[in-house]
């Protein structure tokens, strides 16, 4: 009997914790957003984050996109060759890349790179009293640290994904033309016939949501970290894990909303 009660109590505690974290996170995000419309806005921090996310993530994102596009082409070839439907490969590649692989791959890469770095930087500022020092120097730490980063993430990731889309399609193109002996003009024509504007725009909209979530997780876990170097370490891990899970979960929801008619 007691064991059952203990179990239920533990379950309840976990549920309460989840609700509490969700509430704190929502409040954190809304507070940060509310600073968007209340000046000042810290352009320096914003451009710094924009460069860090948008520019310095380019190599990783470009390489992952190139290889993913190539892999999709190879895999679908082995599947479709049995049915003599190789012609569909261009379409498969471009749809997979623009709708899913581009945003998700770029998002996961940025979560690992930028989400972790943000959590570590802000977390270190927290445990060394730098965030408290901001308050005493007429600067709202949310406005200074969080808001510009959130905006930068939301803007930079779609730009990255646009690049990832192009390179992903190029990866599929290279594999199909060089390795599978497709005709290049036919492949290109098939690509443009298959893709619609909505595929790309929804992919980019997803990317904006992912960018927001990744930077939100990085900032939130850094901002709320405690307890020295170890606390910063676990904040960094938590930021990456939470960002990756939220990214995939929201990807499912967004796909359901936009593509399931």
């Amino acid at each position: 009997m007691n064991a059952v009660l203990d179990f239920i109590a533990a379950l309840g505690r976990a549920a309460l914790n989840l609700v509490r974290t969700a509430g704190a996170l929502t409040l954190f995000g809304l507070t940060a957003l509310s600073h968007l419309v209340r000046p000042p806005f810290y352009w320096r921090i914003f451009f710094g984050a924009l460069i860090e996310i948008g520019f310095f993530s380019l190599p990783v994102v470009a390489l992952t996109a190139l290889f993913s596009g190539g892999v999709i082409a190879l895999q679908s070839y082995t599947g479709f060759a049995q049915y003599h439907a190789q012609g569909a490969i261009a379409g498969i590649v471009v749809l997979a890349v623009t709708r899913e692989l581009g945003p998700v791959m770029a998002g996961l890469m940025v979560a690992g790179r930028v989400g972790a770095a943000m959590a570590a930087e802000i977390g270190t500022m927290r445990v060394t009293d730098q965030i408290d020092a901001l308050t005493t120097l007429s600067t709202n730490p949310m406005k200074y640290l969080v808001t510009p980063r959130l905006l930068a993430g939301t803007i930079a990731l779609p730009c990255l994904v646009l690049v990832a889309d192009m390179l992903g399609v190029m990866g599929g193109f290279i594999v199909s033309v060089v390795k599978l002996d497709f005709s290049a003009p036919a492949y290109i024509a098939a690509t443009f016939a298959a893709v619609k504007t909505i595929d790309v725009t929804v992919g980019l909209a997803k990317a904006a949501v992912f960018g927001f979530l990744i930077t939100l997780m990085g900032c939130y876990h850094g901002y709320t970290s405690r307890g020295g170097a170890q606390g910063v370490g676990s904040a960094t891990t938590a930021a990456v894990v939470a960002a990756s899970i939220l990214l995939l979960a929201s990807d499912y929801l967004l796909t359901d909303v936009f593509f399931s008619q």
Binding site: T124, T128, D129, Q130, D132, T135, T136, L137, S138, N140
Partner: protein, 263 residues
């Protein structure tokens, strides 16, 4: 008339972290233009007291009045305005390591200017920062370095320069001279006294150094077990007549405080 309202007036301030009671009913008055030195054992809650006044840690109970206004019940925006008039030197310096030394020193000037619409140019701010660095005994060329390139004592002095750069009404110093050599310590003490005498600022300083406490302080108070067990003129710290203060200021192993600890 002005003299009759304390600049800072604390009544019944309590703060506990879980079961651990750190502040247990603090009553403290600091008059305008004077400085208060707070002494007390390591871990007795001195830094927590300053953080509570700044609102960095929420207090559990009590009132904190600055210029007669209870800051604990103010709405956040008004409270920020009050906090803006307080300069704080943190115990560990708390310099922004992503910025250069001069940007650290000028940070408050630029931020306050941005808020009030008369922001100094970066060149002006840099010049001011250079002057502040000279005041704390650092060469202005240090301004171009990053905080990580400084020694601990230098970081402390940069933190001090940052705290006083905006000429705030109220100054908090958390162990301003810890980690400095005796001569530099005396220079910094003199600088703090100057801030209070010349600018008319009100100061609260935490220190473990009795010589420094007597140089800086007009008044002194000792924090022990969450309460201010003694308050009096800083000049009488070494012969206060209170056995606990005596033991503390003379650094004796035997006395009422060690008895408590052993029990």
């Amino acid at each position: 008339m002005i003299q009759s309202t304390p600049k800072i007036r604390i009544r019944g301030l309590c703060k506990a972290f879980g079961p651990k009671i750190v502040l247990d009913g603090i009553d403290l008055d600091v008059m305008p233009g004077t400085s208060m030195v707070i002494i007390g054992g390591s871990g007795s809650g001195k830094s927590v007291l300053l953080r509570c006044i700044l609102g960095l840690i929420p207090a559990d109970a009590g009132t904190i009045e600055i210029d007669g206004v209870n800051v604990l019940t103010l709405p956040p925006r008004r409270r920020e305005e009050v906090i803006e008039t307080i300069g704080m030197l943190f115990q560990n310096g708390a310099l922004f390591d992503s910025l250069s030394v001069w940007e650290n020193v000028a940070f408050g000037l630029l931020a306050a200017g941005r808020r009030h619409g008369r922001r100094p140019s970066r060149a002006e701010a840099r010049a001011t920062a250079g002057r502040m660095l000279e005041q704390v005994g650092l060469d202005p060329s240090v301004g171009a370095l990053s905080p990580a390139e400084l020694s601990g004592g230098m970081q402390k002095r940069v933190g001090l320069a940052r705290a006083i750069a905006g000429q705030p009404d109220i100054l908090f110093f958390d162990e301003p001279t810890t980690g400095l050599d005796p001569i530099m310590g005396a220079v910094i003490d003199g600088l703090i006294v100057d801030c209070v005498r010349k600018l008319g600022s009100t100061a609260i300083a935490i220190t473990h150094d009795m010589a420094s406490a007597q140089r800086i302080g007009d008044q002194a108070a000792m924090l022990y077990k969450g309460k201010l067990i003694w308050q009096g003129p800083a000049a009488s710290l070494l012969n206060s007549g209170n056995p606990m203060v005596d033991q503390f200021t003379h650094g004796r192993r035997e006395g009422p405080i060690s008895m408590e600890l052993r029990r």
